[in-house]
């Protein structure tokens, strides 16, 4: 059987991941516009699936120049998307002092962009273990400060116990990064279930704040620890 590669010159032949990605994006757009917008899930899989697999090291089909081009494009997309969402929020909320439902999706998207950007920078700067250690310590100390300010006596002590898992995971992430990464993914999933955060998809701003401030950082650190290279190449915190 003749393949696409046999018809096209090598320089014009897209990679298997590129072909699959293009097919999914096209199918998602066409089916979304003609049948049901739910088919946009195919668009999402095609557009973001391969880059996510590359980011966690499961797909290695690009050389360093292509990776550099993708990183630069991602940074430009961050700037363009961030500026655009800022303009949308400002335009929708001009003259008010709160965030109503009109500007809620844009502000949520903006928050995801900024959080993802800073988490990624932390990991690039300190390495996965160093970044996780610092982020979890910060969570722990933040919770201690919150407990001290909002409670007194026995209640304060009881609230402070919540900070303990953060400190334990922070120190565990330095010695057992893989196990800690898995534990962080489980913790993120548990937090989503325990706090019933699916309400965020119905417009619950409080639930969305918890997702942005707690669940996404936990999941991001978990993925970073699991995707980190071996200890020889990963700088120690």
């Amino acid at each position: 059987m003749r393949t696409l590669a046999s018809f096209l010159p090598a320089k014009l032949c897209p990679s298997p991941a590129g072909l699959l990605s293009g097919a999914l994006v096209t199918a998602g757009l066409v089916l979304g516009a003609t049948v049901d917008m739910g088919w946009w899930i195919l668009f999402g899989l095609g557009a973001f699936g391969p880059p996510v697999l590359r980011a966690v090291g499961l797909l290695r089909d690009q050389d360093e120049f292509q990776q550099e081009a993708a990183r630069r494009a991602g940074y430009h997309a961050y700037l363009a998307g961030g500026i655009f969402l800022c303009i949308v929020v400002v335009a929708k909320q001009w003259g008010t002092a709160n965030l109503d439902h009109d500007a809620f999706p844009a502000s949520a998207g903006l928050a995801v962009l900024v959080i993802a950007y800073f988490m990624s920078r932390l990991v690039s700067f300190w390495g996965a273990r160093g970044a996780t250690f610092r982020v979890l310590l910060a969570f722990g100390f933040f919770w201690l400060a919150f407990s001290a300010i909002s409670h007194r006596g026995v209640e304060m002590l009881a609230e402070s116990v919540v900070a303990l898992p953060f400190f334990l995971l922070a120190f565990a992430s330095r010695r057992r990064p893989r196990a800690s990464g898995a534990a962080l993914l489980v913790a993120g999933g548990l937090a989503f279930w325990l706090f019933r955060l699916a309400r965020a998809f119905q417009g619950d701003q409080g639930a969305l704040m918890v997702i942005l401030a707690l669940v996404i950082p936990l999941l991001a650190m978990g993925v970073a620890l699991l995707a980190a290279r071996s200890e020889r190449t990963e700088p120690a915190p």
């Binding site: 050389d63 360093e64 120049f65 292509q66």
Partner: protein, 76 residues
């Protein structure tokens, strides 16, 4: 910090190596042809690892392939 740019002799070495094509060189160092093209045009400075692999193909040193040159300030 002085403004410098990286110059490379990749094309000259390819010609000297029996008119080796960009695709052949790309295959030997494990990158795409576009990467070799970008390096030759000065649009991309390779990693130390890739620079060492390129130098190994031509049996030379990285310093022979890549040099730092002072960038001339534009006069107004």
């Amino acid at each position: 910090m002085p403004r410098v740019s990286v110059r490379n002799q990749l094309r000259r070495f390819r010609v000297q190596a029996g008119e080796m094509t960009q695709q052949e060189l790309a295959d030997r160092v494990g990158v795409s042809r576009q990467t070799i093209l970008a390096i030759e045009k000065g649009n991309y400075n390779p990693s130390v690892e890739l620079a060492l692999r390129l130098a190994r193909v031509f049996g030379t040193t990285v310093e022979e392939l890549f040099t730092l040159e002072d960038r001339k300030e534009s006069t107004r």
